[in-house]
């Protein structure tokens, strides 16, 4: 890694050293002024410039700007000076260039959504939004950081139409993101993240509802993009599909999220200090509702002897035992203990979580050079006992205008992410797993107080299946740490006034170390009971380096015609390396070192490399400021495809037409802005590395002394082609009442064909799958963004509101030959599939058998519901998603709230299946309210043999056991509404701020996930174990945190 960092630094040095040109004195026109908002507060970061001349500057912290126009350029002519800032209506002014100093002040009015103004688009190029023919949405720092989440992408939830954000609940866990549905059946469907022009990794090491990940114990180690410190972000542009993102190449098909970090500014010698601090209290937002009438056991009986079957049903981890009426029963905690309910025993397990974070940044500079240094720290005490997270980050960015023609900038970020005792997820490894079973009489305090028995062995309520939950968190130490550098350096040279050349080099490099240790006696696979413990150590390192060369042209050809063009070259190199050492037996207790392995450790090594070389270009022309036509083309050459197929070209084109500019007569007091746009694009995606050859895999463990090799299970295809996504979109943007109301809507349709599939073949062929190009997925849908300022009163009261709404329909139109389905994942006999002629992501499983005539459920002779033939039971795609944000401001107070809505889609809930099976969830009281066998369950249905109504009665226990893997009974509607964000902010009086040598001090009460309404019982309906394609099934997910706290922000 050191070599790569050196490389990045060397690039920066090269860029800085290459410039020795001194500026010559000139007689310029100087333009300067002050920009303020409605309340006459200075606005920083406003872009003020003359587009036709390509000159301009940003306002500093005092709201002032100034720039010079070289002598001779346009002198004596009128020019349009425009002031723009994200979140404000742009304002134009005409000035006469006069080779003197011109002072022009601006007052900008805020707008809730943005139809015009400068936005960051593909390749970090800033463009006028009204000239874009593609759908994109930009979120600025203030909106992004209204409330604090550990994850920067979670903070986007509900704010961008068409961006689906599903958090994982696990602190530091992964967030599943999709834009406009899923393109690739088996490939990557995550958007590309680009920070300051450098693509960064969002790779995740994830868990699953099965939890069956032998190396990491089924933990969710989070999405790598969460390393980015939200306090360093200036804006996030979401390019919603291939159309907007075509210039990014292969990875653009899923959309691109372009993150721009804050930069230094000219501060006239003063150092600007910005500071923010957060403190919040976190707790699980949703916990299951339990029954509290019956304790552990089977058939109404329980007596503890050894907790493993030696007593009466004491091996049971279910709660079909005696009624909790205070009788005396031998329990794990001693003989003849009162048999009473512990209604809060699960709740008692959780600690109150705390999150503290702070960020301190300095910035300053002159016209020629500026810099920003930011330091951030976050400290999370998870709501799971002994679970901690710590993140520190540093960012240094600098810009230098070396000569009028030559500038250079560089940004270096370092992030250290440190987690301890991260909770496991899923069935085999989840920390909450045993609470889906559990004895309802178990007193959690006794487990907390005592983890070892008198012999030093595990002390628990059950010895068959579960470890004491505190044992898991305290005796099996887990630690993972990610060190990451993201660096970019670029140099820009103005070859001609309208032509710039840029060279940029950037790397994202990280190393992730995961260490998991297991104490002696830990139940399940992880420790062989003959030995003193075990461990698994994993080291991942990942790097991506991009080197770009860009020519950008921006020229006013005639007074009516502006032309823009880019030509670029890119070379992308990715490496990934993973090394694992694990053993389930060590010799001496508590020494978790490879040298202490009693069982030869399993070693695994996986190295992958990928390289893509690209050439790309774009050209656009704007005529009369009202019509813009743009075309792009890119050619990728990828290492992962065979020669002959590895070079592929894809074009895109888009058109923007501003009606209100073209036909000024349309403009009225009602309609202030109207634009139509349309776009067509195609993007190709390569294969995973090493997909072209079938290989043998070795086993690091020797059989005695004998080496082992086995042939891989996928028949490789040496003739793979790239996947191709073709996308069409059209949209309109309307502004009314001078920006008080705006609508931005897009309809899109895209198809991805040549899908690279690992087609399941008959295992009797000797293989499980063959890699092929086949199949087509179609996604189409609407995205709507609505913004309004319904109320703006003279006394300063303002209400702004915005609504995001999107619906996507993904459908599998084609698969290969007779192939009916591709399975994306499965658990307990239910599958999530991409099934021919069905929506993408159907859940299939076993339904109730039904009478074909009456539709009534059939039962067998014993009274159990009968199982029908496997069929589609649901679909993981939501019908629509949306967000509704409201902000009320009055004088120094601002109150804002965001509702995040997901409507429709289904979940197969394994938690609910086992929670009922095990007799612990409230629903399992059905049939045993009176006493154990009375009344029992006489299931309403028809006997499948006689056709008569069922009369057979089952005990509640038998009935609920009979529902095992009757998937239909546990497929639920996944709709939810969350009060995602609430903020009540107060600006301290200006004199207080002045005393702190700052412009503004804001104190706020903030809350996240304060309220959730869902159709599914017992679990948080928002969960993701992984950023992969297997979604829609859960087991014991960690609920997202409900948090509330305070935020202090000092603005320089």
């Amino acid at each position: 890694m050191a070599r790569r960092i050196t490389y990045v630094l060397a690039s920066a040095v090269f860029v800085l050293a290459a410039s020795t040109h001194a500026a010559r004195a000139q007689e310029p026109t100087r333009v300067q002024g002050l920009v303020t908002n409605d309340n006459r507060q200075p606005l920083s970061g406003v872009s003020v410039g003359i587009a036709a001349l390509g000159v301009g500057a940003f306002t500093g912290d005092d709201g002032r700007y100034s720039f010079t126009i070289p002598a001779g350029r346009g002198t004596g002519q009128p020019a349009t000076l425009t002031a723009r800032r994200i979140g404000f209506q742009p304002v134009n002014a005409t000035i006469n260039l006069s080779a003197t100093t011109i002072t022009k002040d601006f007052i900008l009015g805020s707008s809730p959504t943005q139809l015009e103004g400068v936005v960051v688009t593909a390749l970090g190029i800033t463009r006028e939004k009204s000239q874009l023919g593609t759908a994109m949405q930009q979120v600025d720092a203030a909106e992004l950081n209204r409330t604090k989440d550990q994850s920067i992408v979670n903070q986007l939830a509900g704010k961008v139409s068409g961006l689906n954000v599903t958090g994982s609940g696990t602190q530091g866990g992964s967030t599943k993101l999709t834009i406009r549905g899923t393109n690739s059946i088996l490939g990557n469907n995550n958007p590309l993240f680009v920070v300051d022009g450098v693509p960064v990794s969002n790779a995740a090491r994830s868990g699953s509802p099965n939890g069956g990940n032998a190396t990491t114990g089924g933990m969710d180690f989070g999405s790598a993009v969460n390393d980015i410190n939200p306090d360093d972000v200036e804006s996030i542009s979401v390019l919603k599909g291939p159309n907007a993102a075509a210039l990014y190449g292969a990875r653009a098909s899923n959309g691109v999220i372009v993150i721009t970090t804050k930069k230094g500014r000219a501060t006239q010698g003063r150092v600007g200090t910005e500071f923010s601090a957060n403190y919040s209290w976190d707790s699980p937002s949703i916990l299951p509702e339990y029954q509290n009438a019956y304790g552990q056991g089977f058939g109404g009986d329980f007596k503890f002897v050894d907790g493993a079957g030696g007593g009466v049903n004491d091996g049971a981890d279910e709660s079909w035992g005696p009624k909790l009426d205070g009788r005396l029963i031998d329990q794990f905690s001693g003989a003849a203990q009162p048999w009473v309910a512990n209604p809060d025993n699960v709740k008692d397990f959780f600690d109150g979580g705390h999150t503290m974070s702070g960020n301190l940044a300095f910035r300053g500079g002159t016209d020629r050079a500026n810099a920003r240094l930011s330091l951030g720290a976050e400290n999370v005490q998870g709501y799971i006992p002994n679970n901690k997270f710590q993140k520190i980050s540093g960012l240094l960015s600098g810009t230098m205008q070396v000569t009028p023609k030559f500038s250079a900038d560089a940004t270096l970020q370092y992030i250290n992410n440190d987690a301890r005792n991260r909770p496991g997820v899923g069935y085999n490894t989840g920390i909450l797993e045993q609470f889906i079973w559990f004895g309802r009489q178990v007193n959690m305090d006794q487990l907390k107080a005592k983890r070892f028995d008198e012999n030093g062995d595990l002390y628990n309520w059950n010895y068959n299946y579960h470890n004491n939950p505190y044992w898991i968190q305290f005796e099996n130490p887990e630690a993972d740490e990610r060190d990451r550098f993201i660096g970019v350096a670029s140099a820009r040279y103005s070859i001609l006034p309208w032509l710039d050349a840029t060279v940029r080099g950037g790397s994202d490099i990280y190393a992730l170390d995961i260490s998991q240790q297991f104490a002696k006696g830990n139940l399940n696979w992880s420790v062989d009971p003959s030995y003193a413990g075990g461990f698994a150590y994993t080291t991942d390192s990942r790097s991506e380096t991009n080197i770009d060369f860009l020519l950008t042209a921006n020229r006013q050809v005639t007074s009516k015609l502006d032309m823009n063009g880019t030509f670029g070259l890119n070379r992308r190199s990715e490496t990934f390396s993973s090394k694992i050492q694990q053993t389930n037996g060590i010799s001496v207790p508590l020494i978790y070192n490879v040298s202490n392995a009693a069982i030869t450790p399993t070693l695994a090594q996986n190295d992958t490399r990928r390289r893509v070389n690209s050439v790309f270009g774009s050209a656009s022309g704007t005529y009369g400021g009202w019509v813009t036509l743009e075309g792009t083309i890119r050619n990728d050459i990828s290492s992962t495809l065979p020669i002959g197929e590895n070079s592929y070209v894809y074009p895109s084109g888009n058109l923007s037409f501003v009606l209100t500019e073209a036909f000024p007569s349309l403009r009225s007091n009602t309609l202030s802005f109207a634009k139509l746009r349309g776009s067509v694009a195609r993007v190709g995606t390569d294969a995973d590395p090493y997909s072209l050859q079938t290989t043998y895999a070795g086993d690091s463990r020797k059989f005695g002394a004998l080496p082992l090799f086995g042939l891989g299970n996928t028949i490789a295809n040496a003739d793979l082609k790239p996947e191709l996504t073709t996308s069409t979109e059209a949209g309109f943007e309307l502004g009314f009442f001078n920006g008080r109301l705006s609508v931005d809507a897009t309809y899109y349709q895209k198809t991805t064909d040549n899908q690279i599939l690992n087609l399941t073949v008959s295992p009797t062929s000797g293989f499980t799958s063959v890699a092929i190009n086949a199949g087509e997925i179609e996604n189409k849908g609407w995205e709507v963004l609505l913004g309004a300022t319904p109320v703006r009163l003279g006394n300063g009261f303002e209400w702004t509101t915005s609504v995001t709404w999107a619906r996507n329909r993904g459908r599998v139109n084609e698969l290969s030959g007779s192939l009916q389905t591709v399975t994306l994942g499965s658990a307990w006999g239910a599958t999530v599939e991409a099934r021919l002629n069905e929506p993408y992501g159907v859940i299939r499983g076993l339904p109730y058998a039904r009478d074909s005539a009456s539709g009534q459920i059939l039962t067998d002779d014993d009274g159990y519901p009968a199982f029908g033939a496997r069929r589609v039971l649901g679909n993981i795609q939501p019908d629509w998603t949306g967000g509704w944000s409201n902000t009320f401001s009055y004088k120094r107070f601002v109150v804002s709230a965001l509702l995040d809505v997901r409507q429709g889609g289904d979940i197969f809930s394994i938690s609910n299946m086992f929670g009922q099976y095990a007799g612990v969830f409230k629903e399992s009281m059905y049939g045993r309210e009176v006493d154990f066998d009375d009344p029992g369950v006489t299931f309403r249905g028809l006997n499948e043999n006689t056709g008569q109504p069922n009369t057979a009665t089952l005990t509640s226990e038998e009935f609920h056991h009979g529902l095992f893997q009757l998937h239909e009974a546990f497929v639920y509607d996944n709709s939810y509404v969350k009060l995602r964000e609430l903020r009540v902010g107060y600006d301290l009086p200006a004199n207080w701020a002045a005393r702190l040598n700052s412009r503004a001090v804001n104190l706020a009460f903030v809350g996240r996930n304060l309220f959730t309404s869902a159709n599914i019982p017992n679990i948080d309906p928002e969960f993701s174990y992984t950023t992969g394609n297997f979604q829609g099934m859960e087991f014991a997910p960690l609920p997202n945190a409900r948090s509330f706290g305070f935020n202090l922000r000092i603005t320089p």
């Binding site: 089977f298 399940n524 070259l569 389930n584 069982i599 020669i643 086995g710 042939l711 295992p763 000797g766």
Partner: protein, 511 residues
Amino acid sequence: MTAQTTLRYLSGLGLVAAIAGCDADAITKVNENPNSPTNAPAGAVFTNAVQSGIGRYLGWNYNGRGAALVIQHLAETQYPDDDQYKLFDANSTSGYFNTPYTSELEDLQKVIESGTEDERPAVAAPALALQTLIFQYITDTFGDIPYSEALKGDGEEAILQPKYDLQKDVYAGLLASLTKAAADLANPGAVTLGSADPIYSGSPASWQRFANTLHARLALRLINVDPTTAATELQKALTGPGGVFRSNADNATMRWPGDGAFNNPWADNFKSRDDHRLSQSLMNAMLANSDPRIPIYAQPTVSDPTKYAGMPNGLSATAAATWFNTSSRPGAVFYPGATAYGFYGGTGASFPQQILTYAELQFIRAEVANRGIAGLTAGQAQGFYNDAITASLNQWGVTNAGAIAAFLAQPGVAYKGGLDGLKQIATQKWIALYTDGGNAWAEWRRTCQPAGLVPGPAAVVNYIPRRFRYSTTETSANTENLAAAVARQGPDNLGTRMYWDTKPTAAPTCS
């Protein structure tokens, strides 16, 4: 243009060239897999196939949670879902069908191919014999299976949806393979598998005896449905080149290293699971004759350490739980010392598993003699029978001649001849095949002995399963061929009989 400017443009162009200047060959080199080779030594592939295949069929899931419960060697005390046949749904048992094809069978196919290509019979023939054994387990478990078109997914003419062969044809193919293996090994050549073969250290003569002995097992399966072929093939087996097993020393034995990485699968299971007890069926049959193998097969009960007892199969969870301490755990030899629930002494982790034994061969000979076919006569039957039992006792560690003689003299054991003799042979074979549930199950289906095995009261079907259901993967990935097989063979349920199990009335022991 100044020199300085020129220099600057040139350096810019140099950068462009550096970025663009990558020819197509160089970039595809990036895609050469550094982790896994495209070729591997035949020996290492063979070793892997052995541990994988034997570990599967003599191992835990197929055996301990499947065949050994069906055949009532074992029973379950807690979560007796397997013992109630609830987990014999197609989804749960698919792995016994899918994985052997993609792992050991395919790997052995590669060894056979490379051994044949390199003209190394002592490499190819053992692989062929072992592959035949694995195919035998699969066909005996499912019936018709892909065989002639199987394992050809990566060929020039790739077959991704192999047809199902009739079990009759599969058996014919397996018998032919064994004939070929034994014949090829007569001229083994210089190169053997050597130490890469954990069973016979590459010895061609041992593999020859293995092939012939396995030949005898397979031929006897056909005795009811096709007595003529059975007799011919038995004769061929018993007189094959290189001969058959001569004593326990020839047994095919899987010696598990027991180093934690590769343990005896039973011991591996008992490390953390305490669900299994001896079945009452097996225990009562052994108790009736004071079988000296009882203290090896089983442990005394916890509630009464002077007593051995089995438990009934297929009980409800509630009923099964009551047998937790009152029935016998499998013998301490199968336990790895420390478990999650106690200490059981023993070195079970390295306890060897018997793949094919001299005892079974002598039981086969006893039956063949009793039936008076393949060159043997009824008068020889008792000798073979006693020899078979003696070999089994020896194999399980009972070597005291007095104890052996006493056992053979037990009225229930002493050979009676005729139909009773056939039943005795089958019953004693069933006892001797303890730990090889799959073969015990097949023999029960063929012989109906021991008579009177019935499913437990909580079983989900009211008969002892005669097969497992086809893989759910096949339902989607090989739909038409599977449908054809089901249409031919009978419904894809637990009750449809094997080809060799379709004429119970022709089997003299069935009644």
